[in-house]
């Protein structure tokens, strides 16, 4: 299960490198966060079956992911309204 979550995480990293679109980058971030949540739950279930730390941290991780997605999508829609594109090549106003 740890190997599965590692594979998912690095698929997310690969996507983060290769995609050039803000929504795709957000999807890759979700993949990585999801892999981390799996790690928490698996460590809790197999190494410390009597504790609740990993369980609770997974819950908090899911909540933070939800908040982060809401803000990110608001930002993306605003960027699209201003620049008329969400392609990373065009978003250079903050560069200089």
């Amino acid at each position: 299960m740890l190997i599965l979550s590692a594979v998912l995480f690095f698929i997310g990293v690969f996507g983060f490198f290769t995609r050039r679109n803000l929504v795709s980058l957000l999807i890759c971030t979700e993949l990585m966060l999801n892999a981390v949540d799996i790690n928490f739950a698996v460590f809790n279930a197999y190494c410390y079956p009597n504790m609740l730390e990993g369980y609770v941290f997974s819950l908090f991780g899911i909540g933070i992911a939800a908040a982060e997605t809401a803000v990110a999508i608001a930002i993306i829609i605003n960027v699209y309204r201003n620049v008329h594109s969400i392609h990373i090549k065009r978003l250079t106003n903050l560069k200089h």
Partner: protein, 167 residues
């Protein structure tokens, strides 16, 4: 045990394939739908670990909330959400090398490390215990992170409305 292994293999196969296609597909709507499969597979893993509440939260928040938000964004952006330009070969190469190096290192470490994992006992966490852990103020209880999370969610909601509002 073997039936668990079969279920886990099926879930893992579906999740990895869906994640790969979600990352490489050029249509974002398709990528979002494939992400949904990965999230459902994760919920299945939680159910396999007998973490029923965590699985339910995963389905409601991730599959129900985040994916719907993503689909909203894709539909609102319309034409803008298509990846028109091809990514360059160099970028593909860099991404592949980084991901493969990291993956091999991590898997090697996971295989060679002795986690001293106890034998997995399939017991469901009772809701009462979980609620007391979330709301208690003693050691190993999580009232403070819980309240911080609620404030964070409120701040994010207000911030999202402020950002997305028309001038």
């Amino acid at each position: 045990m073997s039936i668990n292994l079969v279920i886990f293999s099926g879930l893992a196969l579906v999740m990895v394939i869906a994640a790969l296609f979600a990352v490489t597909s050029s249509k974002i709507m398709r990528a979002t739908t494939l992400l949904l499969f990965v999230l459902f597979g994760t919920a299945g893993l939680y159910f396999m670990l007998h973490y029923a509440f965590l699985g339910a939260v995963q389905i409601t928040v991730y599959a129900g909330g985040i994916v719907v938000l993503l689909i909203f964004a894709v539909l609102l952006l319309g034409k803008g959400s298509v990846d028109i330009t091809q990514t360059s070969m160099r970028r593909y190469l860099a991404g592949t090398i980084t991901a493969l190096t990291g993956m091999i290192t991590t898997i090697y470490l996971i295989i060679t490390t002795d986690f001293s994992a106890g034998n997995f006992t399939a017991t469901d966490v009772p809701m009462k215990q979980l609620g007391e852990a979330l709301m208690g103020t003693e050691k190993y209880n999580y009232i403070l992170p819980f309240e911080v999370m609620s404030v964070l969610l409120l701040a994010c909601t207000v911030g999202a409305i402020l950002i997305a509002r028309k001038k």
